[in-house]
């Protein structure tokens, strides 16, 4: 994967929990293509209709709080979300995202620097985020080498397979 990700921004607020990302009534689904159809349904029912693949989710504090359901990351990844930038992430969600190779970048105050519809680029190596609409440059947290390695291989499954 490229270490630069570019896409249109879709914004959310604070404490977007896993029930909003992927409502509990769909937890029995197991096919990733079926799971993808319900991304963010509990927070914004227009998301799945209007989201353009490759787009980037930008959110406030504690994104992904709540349940350990991996469906929450599966749904976003398979809906075509290319990265998530937030003030902070809930621990299990963060781990699940890395495990599936979905880049998650912590960047305090990001919501004040970008708005819905802006195009941003993220350099995963340096954590530098550029708002291409107004040329504002924002410094996000760097991913650790271990995490970057997992993401570059497309998640922990291929990573693990290689080591077996």
């Amino acid at each position: 994967m490229h270490s630069i990700i570019q896409g249109k921004v879709w914004t959310f607020g604070n404490n977007i929990d896993t029930d909003q990302i992927y409502p509990g009534r769909y937890l029995e689904l197991t096919e990733h293509s079926d799971i993808a159809k319900h991304a963010m349904e509990g927070a914004d029912s227009n998301f799945i209709k209007e989201f353009i693949k490759g787009g980037i989710i930008v959110a406030g504090d504690n994104f992904g709080c709540g349940s350990s359901r991996e469906h929450a990351t599966i749904t976003l990844k398979n809906a075509g979300v290319s990265a998530i930038v937030a003030n902070s992430f809930a621990r299990i969600f963060y781990r699940n995202a890395i495990n599936l190779g979905l880049p998650v970048i912590t960047c305090d105050g990001i919501l004040s620097k970008v708005k819905k519809g802006d195009t941003i680029s993220i350099d995963l190596q340096s954590g530098i985020i550029r708002n291409l609409d107004n040329n504002v440059v924002i410094e996000g947290d760097k991913l650790s080498e271990h995490v970057l390695n997992i993401i570059e291989r497309g998640g922990v499954i291929p990573f693990f397979k290689k080591d077996l």
Partner: protein, 420 residues
Amino acid sequence: MHAIEKILARASGNERVAAGEIVTAKVDMAEVNDLYLQVVKSFKEMGGQKVKHPDKVCFVLDHYAPAPTIQSATNQKAMREFVQEQGIKYLFDINEGVCHQVMPEAGIVFPGMVLVATDSHTTTHGAFGAFGTGVGATDLATILISGELWFRVPEVIKIQIDGIPQKGTSAKDIVLHIIGKLGPSIAVYKAIEYCGSTVENMSIDERMVLCNMAVEMGAKTSYIQPDDKTMRYIKSKIDREFEIFTTDKDYKYAKEYYFNVADLTPQVAKPDNIDDVDGIDNVDKVEVHQAFIGTCTGGRLEDIEVAVQILKGKTINPRTRLVVIPASKGVYLQAVQKGYIEELIKAGATISAPGCGPCLGAHQGVLAPGEYCVTTSSRNFPGRMGSTEAKIFCVSPATAAATALEGRLADPRKYILMEE
């Protein structure tokens, strides 16, 4: 070192570990629930053929117990087959109840262990001095293959609780109050240790509630130092060797908070945020359509006991439904033997099979648009228990029972005080 660090040091074969360090720890018990057929899928995708330690794995079919749809039945069937084919030692089928109640009752939880489960409320097991944490499916699959998982050693936040709570307030009120004060992300990537005289006086059931809800502050794990009460419980369940760790006197906590709960009133987390908490006196007494007593947070024997104390010989409000789901078969059986279930049915309750029930919005009492619910479960996120247009109040079992009686959000203290 903190006791939690000593647990991770033992499990990772290190003499010392420190907060921030990444360690690979051997997992003493890995639990998979029936939301996670993905665990089996990831295991196979990774090239897994044989589960490394089938005696250290359990499957608990609790979220869809019994299966409400063909899809969930099919997922459970595939899990039973995986358990059989891999020789996995523990299968708790749909007759057993919620994992966090079932596992301690079955004697597979002990102090000093590393317990990893596909459920965020695995922090519950800190009540027994275990390191319990929740992960997703793919992390759990790596444990099935390797028997290990990497962890970042967490900083520890100390929460000291003192004071004798009033009649009618319980561990649930205390932890809601704490979350209301500290917020839902205070402990992200960190651990929470509870201590103080109130915690010492609490029963094991109540301590489990405190630890269970630690994840609602973002905690990775939680901890209560095992004492005589813990040991009596553990010894009644298991006969095996384990080590109890204690925190060094010079350990420096990341943060320390102090709460005195002597004057605390029953607490309510209002829709739709678990940290939007206020005392019952300050909350509008809205009409409530459903009261739910159950789950890994509020479905234990003491919870059912307090509901019976309030409801015995009375009838719930005809406009309100009361759903009661014992957390486990063990709880259910005791509640039957003590006559509690009979009293609840007479009062108008609907009793459902042990398990998670409507907590995750899948079955056994989901909410319609526009409905209000009080629940003893742990989350009031929009859409958590059904429609995103339903409103959820998180309360104690006593408050839920009083509310079912009055048909409106109600203060349980008057009923409990009357009993004295």
